[in-house]
């Protein structure tokens, strides 16, 4: 989920601050990115050349990037290496997006992602305007590429049916996107040149060049059985799309029904629980939280809108905040029923916190009227 990924970036790296460099220095950063693309393309797996590049690089992040790639560092270890380098520590965060750019690029190359796609990821760190201009630059570069495919046909279902599939270009375009470039390229590796050229015309120049290079690579790496398997998988995706049942209009569930049907969070429950947290006195809320375990607080956070997260987290210590966030990371999504139970457990504890230690019979709790109504409404839910 995109917004979750974005939130994770903020949690990990904090505010990006200014994209930092302006004018000439920014131009140099973009040039360094062009150079990175060229070096990766030219050196491929030539470790010595990458070491040389590392020695010649002036920028620390770039130097580290080449060094990690030259030493064939595992993708998982690259993140740690950047953290340990101190480049991302608070004292040096003025160029945070630039350091993150090199971290992302190095990780992506180590994961075996095509250099052109890595370039697009990295250029995004410069912001929208530069990302689009770099995209257009890459597009022109792709158009002028001289890479050519040769004839290579593997018997298989895709080879026989691709002519038919090409009559539905929109569906074929979507299948390529959904299958992803590596699977698509492995499947197309066994097709005739005639059909491959028609397939490549369905994507833009950058996508076409990536597919072409991946097809060449697949032909070197895969045996014909593997290509046939890839073809079958691609065909399954293509036909799956055709046979995907379309729900009749009257069966489509919308509104509240749709949320309930999928066990999705009930918005009314979230709103009520949020209001309870917002209306409750800070002192009482703090006392309630102190009677709850980390996992109970984590479960409660799932029942709240972001505004209430802030209030709640501000009432616990930073150490406990971290522990709660760790619990959240480890737990899976919960369904509506569980959320209701978690919210009700919290409400009961809140009520207990409002009650004096020695409550005399007949004395009512001093709870504001609005809050009382919300608590009643939540506790009476089933």
């Amino acid at each position: 989920m995109l917004i979750e990924r974005l939130a994770q970036m903020y949690v990990h790296w904090g505010n990006p601050g200014q994209t930092g460099e302006q004018g000439r220095r920014k131009d140099q950063s973009v040039l360094a990115l062009h150079q990175f693309l060229e070096v990766i393309e030219e050196t491929s797996e030539d470790r010595k050349a990458l070491f040389t590049q590392s020695q010649q690089s002036r920028r620390k992040a770039m130097k580290l990037s080449y060094l990690l790639l030259a030493s064939e560092t595992e993708p998982e270890a690259i993140f740690d290496a950047f953290l340990r380098s101190g480049l991302l520590s608070s004292g040096q965060r003025s160029n945070k997006p630039e350091v993150l750019l090199w971290l992302a690029g190095t990780e992506a190359i180590a994961r075996g992602i095509h250099p052109y796609i890595v370039f697009l990821i990295m250029s995004a760190y410069f912001g929208l305007e530069i990302a689009e201009s770099e995209f257009r630059w890459l597009r022109e570069r792709s158009k002028s590429s001289n890479i050519k495919l040769e004839e290579f046909i593997v018997p298989g279902d895709l080879t026989d049916t691709i002519g038919e599939a090409l009559k539905e270009p929109r569906r074929l375009q979507r299948t390529i996107r959904v299958a992803g470039m590596p699977l698509s390229a492995s499947a197309f590796a066994g097709c005739s040149l005639y059909y491959i050229e028609k397939i490549l015309a369905l994507v833009g120049p950058i996508g076409a060049l990536i597919l072409t290079e991946m097809i060449i690579s697949a032909r070197k790496r895969l045996v014909s059985d593997e290509i046939s398997t890839a073809q079958q998988a691609f065909l399954d995706l293509f036909t799956q799309e055709e046979t995907e049942p379309k729900m009749p209009e009257e069966e489509r569930k919308t509104g509240l029904e749709a949320f309930e049907e999928q066990g999705l969070p009930d918005p009314d429950l979230i709103r009520t629980t949020t209001n309870i947290v917002m209306y409750a006195e800070a002192k009482i809320l703090k006392s309630t939280l102190s009677s709850m375990s980390d996992s109970e607080i984590a479960s409660l956070l799932r029942c709240l809108e972001a505004i209430a997260h802030e209030r709640l987290l501000n009432l616990i210590s930073p150490g406990r905040q971290k522990r709660v966030l760790m619990v959240i990371q480890k737990t899976e999504d919960v369904v509506h029923g569980q959320m209701l139970r978690d919210a009700q457990l919290f409400t009961q504890k809140l009520l207990a916190a409002y009650a004096p230690k020695k409550l005399k019979p007949g004395v009512t709790l001093s709870i504001p009227e609005e809050l009382r109504k919300l608590i009643s409404s939540l506790l009476s839910r089933e």
Partner: protein, 138 residues
């Protein structure tokens, strides 16, 4: 569970009045999605040059190159992370990013709406979906 961060919350927050401008924007995104669904993406033509929203336009260009899924999401997330915009302008970028992912995956209009409407706030989302339900019934 969505992580909560004060910087992101501050960047995305906007007034009720500003939020009112979101539904028409979502209508526009749905219209473009419909058009792409009907005519497909012509990668050689400058099909999206008339799109005034720069973020949405760039996303569509990426889709036209065959990008989707994780990679496309990563690029869009980075663009949002470094975006200088705030408030409703930033929120619109978030909505556009979701629409781009939806178009790349070839999702139908209903699924796309379920992705986009929650950005209008839960009340608006429910009202809109309930209205759609009654429209279907009619």
């Amino acid at each position: 569970m969505i992580y909560w961060n004060a910087d992101l919350a501050a960047k995305i927050s906007c007034s009720r009045q500003e939020m009112e401008t979101l539904p028409p924007y979502i209508d526009h995104l749905i219209e473009v999605s419909k058009a792409v669904g009907q005519s497909g993406i012509q990668p050689t033509a400058d099909q999206f040059s008339s799109e005034k929203d720069a973020f949405f336009r760039y996303g569509l260009l990426l889709v036209s190159e065959g990008l989707a899924g994780e990679i496309l999401e990563e690029i869009l997330t980075v663009l949002l992370y470094v975006s200088d915009l705030k408030g409703i302008e930033f929120l619109r970028q978030c909505v556009a990013a979701e629409a781009i992912l939806s178009i790349a995956n070839g999702e139908d209009q209903d699924i796309m709406l379920r992705r986009l409407l929650p950005y209008c706030g839960i009340d608006k989302a429910l009202t809109a979906m309930t209205k759609r339900k009654s429209d279907h019934a009619d």
